[in-house]
């Protein structure tokens, strides 16, 4: 479905591929192929963003699916005053936060259901000596784990800024917080990561 060229593209001859804003406009006019192109463009970055946010691939895909369904259902709500990427990331991040809240509630419930005799157990930590770290996958999994353990408000800005490379202005729009707050949260998130991953960062 995603390989088909949008018939609507014939209306607006352009040497380049249509922008996201043009695609959503075509979709609003009824062109379903334009929506398929949007899916093609955004499925991977969104899955990456949500995966880092939730730390779970299957849940990340569910959230991204729900994001696309929301875009599909509410296409008429998009106004061309904002960037499309900002709009779709806002939907995705809101859904991810809802999922996080649901998980937290579930965790609280499972803890409250635990009897006095139930003992908590610690998962074995990764090998954290520099000698034990083989470059590549191991390093990545440690970084991903460190990101996942960040508080949500730091995690989202660090992912958007350092992984997805959004500008401060865009992050401010996506999360609906002032730029100053974005900068401060990015700084604090980085400080926490730097503390956790110091042995990896000393090159």
């Amino acid at each position: 479905m995603l390989d088909k060229t949008s018939p609507m593209t014939d209306k607006k001859p352009s040497p380049k591929s249509p922008t996201d804003e043009e695609l959503i406009l075509y979709f609003q006019e009824g062109d379903v192929y334009a929506f398929e192109q949007i899916v093609h463009r955004y499925k991977e970055p969104l899955v990456n963003f949500i995966y880092h946010f939730l730390g779970d691939r299957s849940n990340a895909e569910d959230v991204v699916q729900e994001t696309f369904i929301r875009v599909y259902k509410n296409k008429h709500l998009y106004r061309n005053i904002a960037k499309f990427s900002t709009w779709i990331y806002t939907i995705a991040s809101n859904l991810a936060k809802t999922e996080l809240r649901r998980r937290r509630r579930r965790r609280i419930l499972s803890i409250s259901q635990m009897g006095f005799d139930d003992k908590d157990y610690d998962l074995p930590d990764h090998v954290k000596t520099p000698e034990g770290i083989v470059d590549g996958e191991m390093k990545e999994s440690i970084i991903r784990e460190a990101i996942e353990k960040l508080p949500a408000k730091f995690k989202e800005v660090v992912i958007l800024r350092d992984v997805q490379e959004f500008s401060y202005e865009e992050i401010s729009e996506i999360l609906d917080i002032p730029i100053g707050t974005v900068k401060s949260r990015v700084n604090r998130g980085r400080q926490r990561l730097q503390k956790k991953l110091q042995y990896l960062l000393d090159k």
Partner: protein
């Protein structure tokens, strides 16, 4: 190792190339004097490069087919209300229910009012009859008993005659007939 608190934000902004000229100059001066902050800046830059280079997570192959399926289901759900426009049964259910209930109530009220009047008239008639005839019968009975006592007669013939007269007395209600019956009884007794 933490950076100097005063410069922590500037260091982060510097790594992002978001620092204005004046702040940048001030920070550069500080970095020349503070190896701790210089090291921290280097670590932040390495961290950023690591985060940028994280291998992308690719969605599974089922992602698009599942999404298509969900979109199809949504389209089907969306088209359903249009079909029901011809017969919006789900909307009519409460209206019809209330209508039927009120009709039932009205029917019961209408049905009960004549019934009660008929019943009451029937009851009144029965009452009047029962009031009239027992009185007569009682009066008749007492008369015949008096007559029996007076005559001192207590034979079978007298009893037959008595029951016969009682039966007759039941069927008659006017006093003239009663008098005639009484005179007959007397004639039989004598």
């Amino acid at each position: 190792m933490a950076p100097c608190q005063r410069f922590a934000q500037d260091l982060s902004d510097f790594a992002d190339n978001e620092l204005d000229k004046i702040s940048k100059g001030r920070l550069t001066d500080h970095l020349n004097k503070c190896p701790n902050c210089a090291k921290y800046l280097k670590q932040i830059q390495v961290l950023r490069s690591y985060l940028r280079e994280l291998s992308p997570i690719k969605p599974t192959q089922e992602f698009v087919p599942i999404l298509r399926d969900r979109m199809r289901k949504f389209q089907q759900e969306k088209s359903r209300p249009e079909r029901t426009m011809f017969f919006p049964g789900h909307r009519l259910v409460p209206v019809l229910g209330i209508g039927a209930l009120s009709l039932l109530v009205v029917f019961l009220l209408v049905d009960q009012s004549p019934k009660s009047s008929v019943q009451s008239t029937r009851m009144a008639v029965q009452k009047s009859q029962s009031v009239e005839s027992p009185n007569n019968a009682l009066a008749l009975e007492s008369d015949t008993q008096d007559q029996k006592v007076a005559s001192g007669q207590s034979g079978f013939a007298a009893q037959v005659a008595e029951s016969d007269t009682l039966a007759r007395a039941d069927s008659t209600s006017n006093s003239q007939d009663l008098d005639a019956v009484r005179s007959r009884i007397r004639a039989v007794n004598y």
